[in-house]
């Protein structure tokens, strides 16, 4: 029963996702949807490290960009097949994460944040300074579309609609892979390290090793997103290493729900579609988006998916209680109950503020 309740919405959502390019006849929004899927993959990789290992990295786009540049260089300059480009991207990002992980993962708190910022800064600046290889600020051009076939001949994902399915396919594979990883022994190790590192260590879980596994896996998945991005937009320039992408990915994960699997996917929708909805604010658009993010962080600490889960949990609890008392437990009466509850919270808050101010003025006077 519980399983059926989960399977049905998943199937409905999946079929909508697959049918979308045929029912939504707007090239611009399909283009945005491709970016949403790519960002969702990127968000999943970031969430793997932030949500399940508790490490706050500000350098994840370094691996996204490394993957993109690696595949861009080998496919555009050396004419290698795009499939090989994917392997090169994953390999380069994985090796880079492994090398930087040795010093970085031993650092704690703000020092780790600094290390990841320095990593992003150095890679971003190198992409600009080594202009003979990367094309500098004018960018790495003519990155080909992914091709299925032998060598450089075969069927190409050269239309937005085709690429949509490629990105969606990669997202589903990544999602299932991370779901499997999280529910495996390794994933339980991650959560143990996140919740209490010393305790995990004393139980024979080597925190450094688990962090390294998580860090490298996250980097590889980021590189996959970078590969998709590079072959979708066909041009890369150093702006992808700018901090806007860091902030995008952080907010994607946090607004969607840190440490939950669907969180980053929901977050990718928020990051791409809320600014679209705010178009009427014109020049105040980014300002109002920042305001929206601020409100979300303050009022929904667990993100949108966490909020939904919490409400569901509250409803189940309330329903069980009502049924035990032999009362009706429909949705309308629950909403009535919620209304009363929130009204009470608001009055409590007002009273709190009033007593606080009274106390302050008494102290001063």
């Amino acid at each position: 029963m519980a399983k059926a309740r989960q399977t049905l919405p998943t199937l409905v959502l999946l079929s909508i996702a697959f049918a979308l390019p045929h029912i939504w006849d707007s090239p611009y929004y399909i283009h945005l949807m491709v970016l949403v899927w790519i960002y969702a993959i990127f968000g999943i990789s970031y969430n793997l490290y932030l949500g399940f290992l508790g490490g706050f990295s500000m350098g994840q786009p370094a691996f996204f960009g490394l993957g993109g540049y690696a595949t861009g260089l080998v496919t555009a300059k050396l004419d290698w097949p795009t499939g090989v480009g994917l392997l090169v991207a994953i390999g380069v990002a994985g090796v880079a994460a492994f090398l930087i992980g040795f010093p970085a993962l031993r650092l704690k708190g703000a020092y780790f944040v600094l290390m990841t910022i320095a990593l992003l800064g150095i890679i971003g600046n190198l992409s600009n300074t080594l202009y003979k290889i990367t094309g500098g600020s004018s960018g790495l051009r003519d990155i080909p579309a992914p091709i299925i076939g032998i060598g450089n001949t075969g069927w190409a994902f050269d239309k937005t609609n085709y690429f949509y399915y490629l990105a969606l396919g990669f997202l589903i594979v990544t999602y299932l892979l991370v779901q499997w990883l999280i529910s495996s022994r390794i994933g339980r190790g991650f959560v143990a390290v996140r919740d209490n590192e010393d305790l995990a260590n004393s139980l024979g879980i080597n925190p450094f090793r688990y962090k390294m596994i998580g860090f490298v896996t996250a980097a590889c998945i980021s590189a996959v997103a970078g590969w998709l991005y590079a072959h979708y937009v066909h041009i890369l320039d150093p702006t992808i290493f700018q901090f806007n992408l860091v902030f995008d990915v952080i907010f994607m994960v946090v607004l969607g729900g840190t440490g939950t699997l669907p969180g980053p996917v929901i977050g990718a929708f928020i990051v791409w579609f809320v600014p679209e909805l705010l178009r009427m604010a014109q020049e105040w658009r980014m300002f109002s988006f920042a305001l929206f993010m601020l409100a979300m962080i303050i009022f929904m600490p667990m993100g949108l998916w966490g909020f939904v889960k919490l409400q569901q949990y509250h409803y189940q609890e309330w329903k069980a209680m009502r049924l035990a008392e032999g009362l009706s437990a429909g949705l309308p009466s629950y909403l009535m109950y919620l209304g009363k509850e929130y009204l009470g919270k608001v009055t409590d808050f007002i009273n709190d503020v009033r007593t606080k101010f009274r106390r302050d003025s008494e102290q001063k006077g």
Partner: protein, 294 residues
């Protein structure tokens, strides 16, 4: 210009640039010490300080440069208070990451307000100080503005030091840094101390912005790179360590000016970030020791 003069010129420029980094970084480290959080909006206070100085000079011809600095510093201090009560206070019991996120959102808001208010390709502040030039030794050129920036920054640091060491509020702030629970048992309200640290750090960053305005073109997106400079300085000097931040800021300024002037301007950032990674690998708690406290 001989090689020696070139080096001396870069050292002078580096010290001036470094003194501005000191102002931003000391505020940042104060926040880190008292509030135990990374304030992402710190660089944006600096940007706002520079633009408000420009705006105050535009408002009326009766306002001269020192008055503009005071006006801008007061407004930005108030902005610091707003950031504290809107962004940090509601999430202060929610761990390390939530305040970083709220300050990122607020920094975005400040930056977008600046983009709307001062559109175009940046502004220059013109003062009488920036045109006159002196030659203290050899062929080295130093404008009065640069001399004033360095001296004023060092004076502000001296005032801050006296405030923290001699006044009651300063001692209370140091106590809060060391142990919040004991401090509140001694009758110190940590809430006030947090707000005060935030205002102080906004004030220092705004002063830095007001001094840098006449030296460089100011643009709305200069806040973030200033924040990273502050982080690097704090890394060199140690977290929450104010004398360390002063030394670190001057060192960073010197380093940047020397690399940029003698080697290649394009490689400055690569070299600086490389040095950070090097420091973190060799001494993971900062170059000048890890002793907390201010």
């Amino acid at each position: 210009m001989s090689q020696f003069d070139l080096v001396m010129q870069q050292i002078v420029n580096g010290l001036v640039l470094g003194s501005v980094y000191v102002l931003i970084a000391v505020g940042f480290t104060l926040c880190l010490g008292v509030l135990k959080l990374i304030n992402v909006a710190q660089g944006h206070f600096y940007m706002l300080g520079a633009f408000l100085t420009y705006q105050a000079l535009e408002w009326s011809t009766g306002i001269n440069y020192p008055m503009a600095i005071v006006i801008s510093v007061i407004i930005v201090s108030f902005a610091g208070l707003v950031v504290h009560y809107v962004g940090i206070w509601p999430v202060q019991h929610r761990g390390q990451i939530a305040p970083i996120l709220t300050t990122i959102a607020l920094a975005f808001m400040i930056e977008n307000i600046a983009i709307i208010m001062w559109p175009g390709s940046g502004r220059n502040i013109e003062t009488s100080l920036s045109t006159r030039s002196r030659n203290p030794f050899g062929q080295v050129h130093v404008t009065d503005q640069r001399i004033m920036t360095f001296i004023a920054a060092m004076c502000l640091m001296a005032f801050l030091y006296l405030f923290l060491q001699r006044t009651k509020a300063g001692k209370a702030m140091r106590a809060t840094t060391q142990n919040q629970v004991s401090a509140s048992l001694m009758g110190i309200n940590p809430e006030y101390m947090r707000a005060m640290a935030m205002v102080l750090s906004a004030l220092l960053a705004a002063a830095g912005g007001a001094f840098i305005g006449p030296l460089f073109t100011i643009v709305p997106n200069m806040g973030l790179s200033a924040l990273f400079k502050a982080m690097i300085v704090v890394l060199i000097g140690g977290m929450g360590n104010i004398p360390g931040a002063v030394v670190g800021g001057l060192l960073l300024g010197l380093m940047e000016a020397l690399i940029g002037g003698l080697w290649s301007a394009a490689w400055v950032n690569v070299a600086v970030f490389g040095i950070i990674i090097g420091i973190l690998i060799v001494r993971p708690t900062g170059l000048l020791g890890s002793k907390g406290g201010i």
